[in-house]
């Protein structure tokens, strides 16, 4: 393919990658610290999107960029509060029990999210157009890039940078990493592990809400949205290495490229290469690109 | 010179960049009781893990009855005659002493190539007898029905030892067999170990802190210091060794 086609393929890949990373970030963060695979993550992502949608349509300003960002932040806050509630009422009680119970609890939570969304926001399909600066296309030489794709890519990179800074450079981040390494010792050293866990859950949910708000204009809005991202987000964190934010970032870009190039060379089998790649990577490195090998 | 049962040659092992074992070699002759001593962090446990197959060395080799077992998985070593106990006794907590022993006996049977139908609910009377005998051996006959988690610590260690004996090992590797025991328990278990090893002609390798235990059992001593063997030989000879006195007994 020509240069322009390569460029388009690359932009598509990055858009897919960053959108998926936005959703996967909270998922992998929570998994890394609490070893919980949160099935309801997609549900809260959806709620975040609905919250942002309601704010923008009720309060207007739907096509102002700053309003769009504000709505996303508001969504993050609302979902973070829900996260605090979930941690208090459900997760804290399940700290000592086997993984299966937590897994099922989060699955049940997903059903509750979907049911609740149907009751509050109804069954119909809705959508919101990107804020005016990101409508239409940006033309570079002989190929055009959808402006909103650039926004999604930017948002993904920003959130990644933010997380890197938060986990790498701040005291909270150091605490979180300490607990992730070895909660037992951390507790021994007087770290309030329960608080760190709660912090992580809240952060993870906030990320879900933020993703919902930022990606609001990326796809249609309906109670189905909860399940739209979940499999590809799982794929990304499995490939990247469960619990690793960097891994999720890399995994997203890798799978995004595979998805894009795949649709170019196998147009008759959309989405197949994604799963093929997933299988190969599982066979080659079950612990994922940046996953920690299991200790002997 | 008697036949060599287990031989370790030039073992190197490190965690990450930190070297733990540097060119460690030692041999265990059939029938001897070989005790490895050394201050904390000398690498006793790591050496132990390398010998039992819990870890593989980064360099060097382990030979059992002349065959290379350096990278043989632990369960295969166990089937070939390694019997191993842990520093903190590991038994099947939610099973009775008898069930624990039964698992060991059945596993031993399988290792010997005997076919035990997977669906067999209760063991044959032959196995039952063997279980009873072993429990008797380690003095737990009267606690057969007690759930392991409710056994006294000393009893749990003896149960573990008994389970290991069920394998009829030719080599018994005990990691600090008396750790966390009272003086009287120590005495008892030293006698027990001495008795069973003598009765079944089992060679012995153990790591130990308690000098009473060491000199009560050892027919040979190896002193490990910062991952290196600094002395090896008859207990009395080692006891007189200047370097040992300096680096090791100095610490006592």
């Amino acid at each position: 393919m020509g240069l322009a086609e390569w460029a388009t393929t690359l932009v598509n890949a990055m858009t897919w990658a960053m959108a998926t990373f936005l959703v996967a970030a909270g998922l992998t963060l929570i998994f890394g610290i609490l070893h919980i695979l949160n099935f309801s993550h997609g549900g809260f992502f959806m709620i975040g999107a609905y919250v942002a949608f309601t704010l923008l349509t009720r309060l207007g300003g739907a096509n102002s960029f700053s309003a769009y960002l504000l709505a996303a932040c508001a969504a993050a806050v609302v979902v973070a509060l829900l996260g605090a509630l979930v941690d208090r009422v459900i997760l804290q009680r399940l700290r000592r029990v086997e993984d299966a119970y937590v897994l099922i609890a989060t699955y049940a939570l997903l059903l509750v999210c979907e049911g609740g969304t149907k009751l509050i926001w109804g069954l119909g399909y809705q959508s919101l157009q990107p804020p005016s600066p990101f409508e239409g296309a940006v033309v570079v030489g002989n190929f055009a890039v959808p402006a909103f794709s650039l926004f999604v890519i930017g948002a993904g990179l920003a959130v990644f940078a933010g997380l890197e800074w938060l986990l790498g450079r701040t005291a909270a981040g150091r605490l979180i990493r300490a607990v992730a390494m070895d909660p037992w010792t951390a507790r021994l050293l007087g770290v309030n592990v329960t608080r760190v866990f709660a912090m992580t859950v809240v952060a993870g949910f906030a990320l879900a809400g933020l993703a919902g708000g930022l990606l609001l204009a990326n796809q249609s809005l309906s109670p189905e949205l909860a399940s739209v991202f979940i499999i590809q987000a799982f794929g990304v964190i499995i490939v990247g290495g469960m619990g690793s934010v960097r891994g999720a970032f890399l995994g997203a870009m890798l799978l995004g490229l595979i998805e894009s190039v795949g649709s170019y060379i196998l147009p008759d089998l959309p989405g197949l290469l994604f799963f093929a790649a997933l299988a190969v990577i599982l066979l080659w490195r079950p612990q994922g690109l940046l996953g920690r090998e299991r200790g002997t | 010179m008697a036949e060599i049962l287990l031989e370790a040659l030039g073992i190197y092992k490190g965690y990450g960049r930190i070297p733990v074992l540097k060119n460690v070699s030692l041999t265990i002759e059939r029938g001897e009781s070989h005790v490895v001593i050394g201050p904390n962090g000398a690498g006793k446990s790591t050496l132990f893990k390398v010998l039992t197959g819990e870890l593989y060395p980064s360099a060097g080799g382990v030979f059992f009855e002349g065959k290379d077992v350096t990278r043989t998985p632990a369960w295969q070593r166990a089937q070939r005659g390694f019997g191993r106990t842990f520093q903190v006794a590991r038994v099947f907590q939610h099973m009775s002493a008898r069930e624990n022993m039964l698992i060991a006996v059945e596993t031993a049977e399988r290792s010997r190539g005997a076919w035990i139908p997977p669906w067999r609910l209760a063991p044959t009377s032959a196995l039952e007898a063997r279980v009873a005998e072993l429990l008797e051996d380690v003095g737990l006959a009267d606690r057969a029905a007690t759930v392991a988690s409710e056994l006294a610590y000393g009893d749990r260690k003896r149960l573990e030892l008994g389970m290991t004996l069920a394998l009829q090992p030719s080599l018994l590797l005990l990691d600090e067999p008396t750790a966390g025991m009272s003086q009287s328990e120590r005495k008892a278990s030293v006698d027990l170990i001495a008795r069973v090893t003598r009765r079944h002609g089992i060679s012995l390798l153990l790591t130990e802190h308690d000098m009473g235990v060491v000199f009560g059992l050892a027919t040979r001593l190896t002193v490990l210091h910062y991952g290196e063997v600094i002395a090896s030989g008859e207990p009395d000879a080692v006891r007189e060794d200047a370097r040992v006195r300096e680096v090791y007994l100095g610490h006592e």
């Binding site: 699955y107 799982f234 469960m242 599982l282 299991r294 | 632990a74 698992i103 209760a122 394998l167």
Partner: protein, 334 residues
Amino acid sequence: MMPAEARAARNRFLATLLCVVVAGAIFPSVANRGLVFIAGLLWINVVFGLAFNLLFATGGILSFGQAMFYAVGAYAASVLSLRLPELPFLWALLVSGLAGAGLAVVAGTVALRRSEGVYFAVLTLAFGELLHIVITKSTLLGRNDGLNGIRRPVIDIGMLHLDFSAGDAFYYFILVVCAFLVGVLWMVTHGAFGRALLAIRQEAQRAEFLGMPVQRYRLIAFAISGAITAVAGALAAPWLQIVTPDLARWSNSTNPILFTLLGGSGFFWGPAAGAAILSVVFYTTRTLAGIADLATGGMLLVVVLSLPGGVLGLLNAVRQRATRRHSGTEAADG
């Protein structure tokens, strides 16, 4: 467990199984055929759940990919009945079981490299989704539409000629085969192999240093569970007379886990109880427009949070408290 106790336990199990089968056998004469259909699915689900719990409670392995075995069995039986109608159904069941075992060995060899809890769950989940995609892309398997028009079998065993194609006759076949599978699972769980698995679950390293090939045992357990689940799926195909790719999805993999946690993983019959309870719940909520999702989700949360021992665990606790109070009063009287 002394031989006497062993015999007692076996007899208790056989008695329970007999009661269940008898109840199942008379059910059609007292219930409408919608319920009979649901009951047919229930027996299949009982096996689905028990096969999962063999891994979970006995093997200490959390599989989130049981649906792939169910689907493989269902599709194997369907393809055979559509492409090779002359192949006796019992053979089709056997082939389905083998297919399930084969798939389990393949998936297990990869996934058991991360056998601890949730990792294994995620890897098995991924394999289920992979299978789902493969099905939707293969014409032989009917792609998204699935395969329909699967006929119910006629079985000839020597003199015996059994026609299950008419009415609900196939229900009884399901009942018998499921009872048999439950028996097999009980033997595997309580026999020497089950003992070994339980030991591995409690202290894997001890087991290994006793000379047990721990990973191999886990793989064998996974294969057994896969095979039995696949046979259950193979029974479902002619009962539904249609199979769709959804059977392989993780939403279906959650079912046996729900059965188990709801009924109580600590009890052999736990998953069976759970499956029964869920069938009743779904049957009674089948007309609640709009709130079915909320109702199911809410109920699950309540169970997971307040009944970690499952419903059987609750009953057990209640019985014990009752007996304790009873003996207490006796003591007072005496």
